[in-house]
Amino acid sequence: MKLIQQVKLFFQEGTSDKVYEIDLCEVGTDQYVVNFRYGKRGSNLKDGTKTTTSVSLSKAQSVFNSLQKEKTDKGYQIATDDSQTTVVLPKPTKSPTNTLEGAILQRLQDAIDGKNTFKTVWKVSRVAWKVGIIKLQEAVPYLLKLVDKGDKMQCYCILWALARCADVKALSTFQTNYANNSNDDNSRKIALEGLLRVSPAPEKQKLINSLVERLPQAMQECFTGNRVADIESIVLSRIAEKQTEYIFLETLYLLANEHPILSKILVKALQLMPIRPPHFKHIRSIYKLAELREDVLILGTLSYLFESKPHMYQSIKKSWRNSRYVSELGTYIKVKDEVKSKNSKVAFSDATKAYLQRRDLKRLKNAGNQTPQEYIKLATAILLSYTKEDYTEAYMESQGYGRWNYQTRKYTHTFVERPECANKLLLNLILNGNNKTMRFVENKWQKGEPIVEVSSSWYGSTKKIENPKTPIQRVKEYNGNNERVELYPEKWDEFPQAYIQLLMQGKNGLVHEFAYKNLKSHAKSKEFIDKIDKSMIKSLVTSNHSIPVFFGSEIIKERMANGVDIELIMFMLSSPVYEAREFAMTVINLQPNLFLEDTSFITSILFSPYKEVRTWSEAFLGIQTLQAEKWQLVVGKSIAKMLGETLDSKALTHAHFALKKYAGLALEKLSWNVVLELLDSPVAENKVFASDILLLKSNSIKAEDIPFKIVSGFLGAESEQMRNNGMAIFAKYSDQNLLKAHEMLGQMVLSPHTSLRDSAIGIVKKLIPQSTDFSKQICTSLLIALRRKETYENSHESVAKLLLNDLESYLKEVELKDVLDLIYGNYRQGQLVGFHILGKYIDTNDMTLRQIIALANHELLAVRHWAIDYFDKNASRIRYERNEAIRLLDAKWDDTRLAAMNFFRNHFTKDDWDVDSLVSIADSVRSDVENFGKELIMKFFEEEDGEQYLIMLSQHPSASMQLFVTNYLERFASNHLERLKSLEFFFRSALMRVNQGRIAKDRIVDFLEKEATNSEETAFWLVALLNDMVNTLAIQDKARFIQLLQKLKHLHKNLKVAITFEPLAIED
């Protein structure tokens, strides 16, 4: 019996002190029992069982849970392991019930006693929640008593309140509730947070470690390696993936108190996540925890997100309808059932969204009632979430078509002015909450009263707001006249540093405008502005938003009164806002020497990501002169930058260009190591630059001193510039060395890049007259190229041209085998070159007849003609090698065969043939050649060879030849049993030819009949064949064979025939 689960309960009240223990045990495979023990603490416990026979695990679990619930409902509390901390209620202090705290405590007391002293009925959970909100420490003992009673909601609320109060007394309650698997998840999460808050340091560390272990492996490593910030990229990539587990988000947030950076990471993650399943449940749980923690950063972000993200589906309120079309999923979903399922496919309905927005609004309202700090923190967090994209202009909105007025007999049109960001509830609430003209109507802000216009037309003319201004325009025109319309202006003024935060981190023009104006009009504004340091100014002027840049530029201009600060001007030069850069360029143009002193300034303008800065820098550097040492420094810094940073490719190209233009000398002097480092750089532009440097270097050193490997690397490079550089360096080689590089040149001649190829061909042509060895090598490699696939279109053609024009004299040395390889190669130009060599330089006496005949089968007509021509010209050799030569007749090309037949007809006489060769011509399976063979046989037939022809030709498988053979039967097989026997196969196969060769069959049967009648011996030999054949289905043949057999039987009584003859009974 194995203990699976156990719970120990106790009950203490008054004099009563008892325990109740429940066990769930395994007794066999899928056999479980639930046992219990109970009695007075310390005494012998009585035991019993709830399962008379063993049951399945699920059944046992439910028995276990229901028993536990039954007991806790009665007031039992769950005991933690050994340290039995009993909760003893304090004597109810007689705090007056007319205060909030007193009323709460009284209500809790009532809950314990089961009474109600108030007129209204409050649920315990509601009371507990209230405790949590005001963090009423005195209520903790009551809550501890109540936590295990009641429903899940009550448990959850009490745990929440306890976690808020963070009282150490609740430690064991947190522990048990966290450890209890049957508790619902939300309660356990709250209990865990509570544990994190109240656990003593060592336990807390253990808890944190266990939390870290829950994270995915990659994140764990970040914690162990103290690289918590690295988690960001992992988190962001994980949420971009589909179908992964996102529970780690909650875990990370639990750890956020230990590692504050995690909060920032989570904010980023939240902004990127869709508020949709499967993320939503985690977002929700983070939201709850953030509420518990009063974490304004997360809450502000989420408030913004809940407001701006669209809901997923329309919720269903009425019960008669249970399914809803969810367009994002493209299907109908029974949403009520679906949302209850564990991995619900739907979440964030319009109702949920509205609920969460109400809750956010309520929180902001509550914060307004509390200290300025809390409100400002929350409001700032919310404002910081709004982005540039959220900005919408003010506009006039028509309220539909005109309405007919019977009295005036005109149409009236109504217009409403919508302010900027009209649909942003919280933004305008915070910024315009005190603006009496603004109202939030039907989910949008509206400014002033509706404007009514009377017109005779049904269509209203579109109204526009006159001269609308953007926030930056208003800021530029700002004259210190600031009308304060935000909520709680006095709270804001207490924390002017919030303005600076909004300016630095805000992303929305309205927010910036609000912060700028308020900061400027603040009493202590000068003091605060003076405190702004360089790094802050940098982040202001390099911001993507115009108002911060304007603000930063303003500060810089102010401070210029004390002298030009190069650094600040450089910040402005790198500002994304054009005006700032323009200002900086003007300042620099006024005092160029001041800036030229600073090499890092020059480096930075070389790499500027802005086009006009680059153009300007070009002109600037063109006018100004810089000493060589300075350029050296600039080059050094620039290369360090190229190697160390990832740069915009346009900026990089510009820097390369400018350096080549102005710092050529410094580049030439660069050390090898630097060039090699640039070559190894993964950035393609840097490699090109390195090749440029090498080309510059080759002016001062010998081209051969640059390692050959590097140059050949250039030649195969992707970039054209690099290849050209390589070629330019290569071209500087002395002829001596170029001759040695024949392999390289051979490859380059075939390069798919035109410029490279052309210069290589030029070099090769120049070198050919200088060295025979070189020419031979080139010739060989070109011939090989002709047998390989084309490296570019028409490469074979140009190679062939090169070979025939410039290397002709070397072609005669090509060996026969190579020539044949070329001719039989797959490429036309190669075949042609091969044929050219064959025709011109090959000694045909070296070729076997077989080779020549093979050429007569070549697909090129010219080659075939050449072979035939050879035959015609060398008749004597052909005659000598006749048996080989007749293979020409088997060529697959009609023209070759025709020519071959002509050749043999014209050049061969009777004496040149013998039986074997003629028969082998007739043996061909091509009917034209077979006929030609027959023709020759008939032409040159000699009586004494007849027998041989008969035997040989009879073995031919074709029907026509069998017919041909029958011609010889009479003359050469008559009266010759031995010969007949040797022809047996012929007879059989001719006679057994299905539905073919009628004439041959008839002839054979006639012949055999004659033979068999003449000779008894023959008859006895023949009868076996006839016996076989007589059973044929062809009536004509069958009759014939029967007749024949009958005739033979009549002649030779001893003959064993397969049929019996019965005399017909003739009727009278």
Binding site: N883, K892, S924, Q955, S989, V994, D1028, A1034
Partner: protein, 549 residues
């Protein structure tokens, strides 16, 4: 299924007036297998190997006529005819206009021909050129050749996936055997070879060589190897295995006289059947001449010289009978034909005994076309009996020692039960690694492919067939039948996944599904375009079990 071969050179047959040299290029990626000798029985070998060639190129699948050119012409012509017709009705003015337009049109056609003519001509020449240059590309799989201590045999399978051919040559066919190494390999094969085979003569010295030189290490001249990648359809491999696996099944056997086969071929050549049924009906009665009824004419062919020796009367129907014409060339040289019939619609074998030294086995699958209308008719790939893999391996290794053996002898040698050995060998036959020699009744080692074939993939022709087999096995099918017209209508109830599907299947005289319905989604969506659903198949399979023989 992709097969890779690397042949050591090209197979060639070179013949001149005095001699012929056959050199087969084996697949060098496989275990070295070679054979060098000279042919003795030349003519018989020529005829037999030619018959084998006919198996390789045999393709009796229905090919519709290409009518595109005609249709193009007809479309053009229709306009002319129409105008002619209108012409005959209308007055002169219109006629004039018509003739004018027609003239213009002719000009346009001429112009078109002038421009397109050279292109069309060049296209035609190009295709002719391709055909000439690449004739070999028209073949599917090269034959498999196996060298054993007692014989050499060639095997091949037709393009239409229905005909199997095997030519076994005992060593008596050869003389002066030089060297050989037992094993199986593929050989390079091309259509020109057939032509060269025809030149074999008795009076010419003929070398026969499965070339061992390809296996020698070659460092240069890599291109003398010919690499071939063939993507064979699964159904092809499946068909091959099905036929060879069928050889191991019990069957009714009898002999036919060569002239009987001659008569049969003659009848088939003379008459072309135009309506179904198109089967051969073998009527086998003990100690009576074998009778073949040729449908649809019901012509009776009685072979008086061929007596059936079996002990119970039987009638077997055979389809795809035109494939038997492959045997024509063997009639003059065959002593007798042994016929092995497994049953109606099941594979059959015709073994020509060629003068004791050679035998040619023609295996025919149930039907010419492996199409769905026959689907689910039989399952030859089903495992027969359970034998654990260790024993299987032991049996296989045992067989490998001697290369061929009867199951009884092997069982004695390995001290195993004959049944176990037989089922193990049957399993290997299904996997294409062993072949049952019908002629001698022995099992022979023959690894069809270099790597073992994926049997899971080959077991069933389609997922539907697999499901249907399962349904049948779980007794979820009920069928009632009724006669309808010429065929039989099966009405089935198939329980699948808690639902009952009602199916109807109409089967014609040729045992073919000609119409079927079901209530399942697959059928509703696809009708019969993608083949029958599992329920229709299950109904049909059930019918196969219960139908009266």
């Amino acid at each position: 299924m992709l097969f890779n071969y690397k042949y050591g050179g090209q197979t060639n047959v070179v013949s001149n007036a005095n001699q012929t040299a056959m050199s087969f290029a084996p697949d060098t990626l496989r275990q070295p297998t070679f054979f060098v000798g000279k042919l003795d029985k030349k003519i018989s070998f020529r005829e037999a190997i030619s018959a084998l060639h006919h198996v390789v190129v045999s393709d009796l699948r229905f090919k519709p006529k290409d009518k595109t050119a005609y249709k193009e012409w007809a479309a053009q012509q229709e306009a002319i005819w129409l105008s002619e017709y209108v012409e005959s009705l209308q007055i002169d003015k219109v006629n004039e206009r018509i003739s004018q337009v027609r003239q213009e049109l002719n000009e346009v056609y001429k112009e078109k021909d002038k421009h397109l003519g050279p292109f069309n001509k060049a296209k035609r020449t190009y295709f002719d050129y391709l055909y000439e240059k690449d004739k070999d590309a028209w073949f599917v799989l090269d034959p498999v050749i196996t060298v054993h201590p007692d014989e050499v045999f060639f095997e091949c399978f037709s393009q239409d996936e229905s005909t199997y051919g095997k030519l076994s040559c005992s060593y008596n066919v050869f003389k002066e055997i030089n060297e050989f190494e037992c094993g199986t390999t593929n050989i390079d094969y091309s259509s020109t070879l057939y032509n060269e085979f025809q030149k074999i003569r008795n009076y010419k010295e003929t070398d026969f060589k499965i070339d061992p030189s390809g296996f020698e290490v070659q460092t240069t001249n890599e291109d003398s190897y010919k690499e071939v990648k063939i993507d064979l359809p699964d159904s092809w491999v499946r068909g091959f295995l099905q036929v060879s696996s069928a050889m191991t099944l019990p069957a009714s056997t009898f002999h036919l006289h060569p002239l009987d086969v001659f008569s049969l071929c003659q009848f088939l050549r003379r008459f072309k059947e135009k309506a179904s049924p198109r089967s051969l009906r073998f009527v086998l009665e003990p100690n009576k001449p074998i009778k073949i009824i040729v449908e649809p004419w019901n012509k009776e062919l009685i072979f008086k010289r061929s007596i059936y020796g079996g002990d119970k009367p039987q009638e077997v129907r055979l389809w795809g009978r035109r494939r038997l014409l492959i045997l024509e060339r063997l009639i003059p040289i065959a002593k007798t034909f042994k016929v092995v019939l497994l049953g109606s619609g099941l594979p059959s074998f015709f073994i020509a005994d060629l003068e004791n030294d050679m035998s040619f086995t023609l295996g025919l699958s149930g039907w010419t076309a492996n199409d769905w209308s026959r689907a689910g008719n039989f399952d030859l790939m089903a495992p027969r009996a359970e034998v654990d893999s260790y024993t299987q391996q032991k049996v296989f290794n045992g067989l490998k020692q001697n290369w061929f053996e009867t199951s009884g002898a092997l069982a004695r040698r390995l001290n195993l039960d004959t049944n176990i050995v037989s089922s193990a060998l049957a399993a290997y036959t299904q996997a294409g690694r062993v072949i049952y020699d019908l002629n001698l009744g022995v099992y022979r080692v023959r690894e069809l492919s270099r790597d073992p074939l994926p049997m899971e993939q080959l077991r069933f022709a389609s997922p539907q067939e697999e499901k249907a087999t399962k349904l049948l096995k779980e007794n979820k099918v009920q069928v009632t039948t009724e006669q309808k017209g010429n065929g039989i209508l099966l009405k089935g109830k198939v329980v699948d996944g808690g639902r009952t599907y009602h199916t109807t299947v109409l089967i014609d005289n040729d045992d073919r599904i000609i119409d079927a319905t079901c209530e399942c989604g697959f059928f509703l969506v696809n009708k019969l375009r993608k083949g029958p659903c599992e329920h229709i198949l299950a109904t049909r399979m059930y019918w196969n079990l219960i139908k009266p023989q």
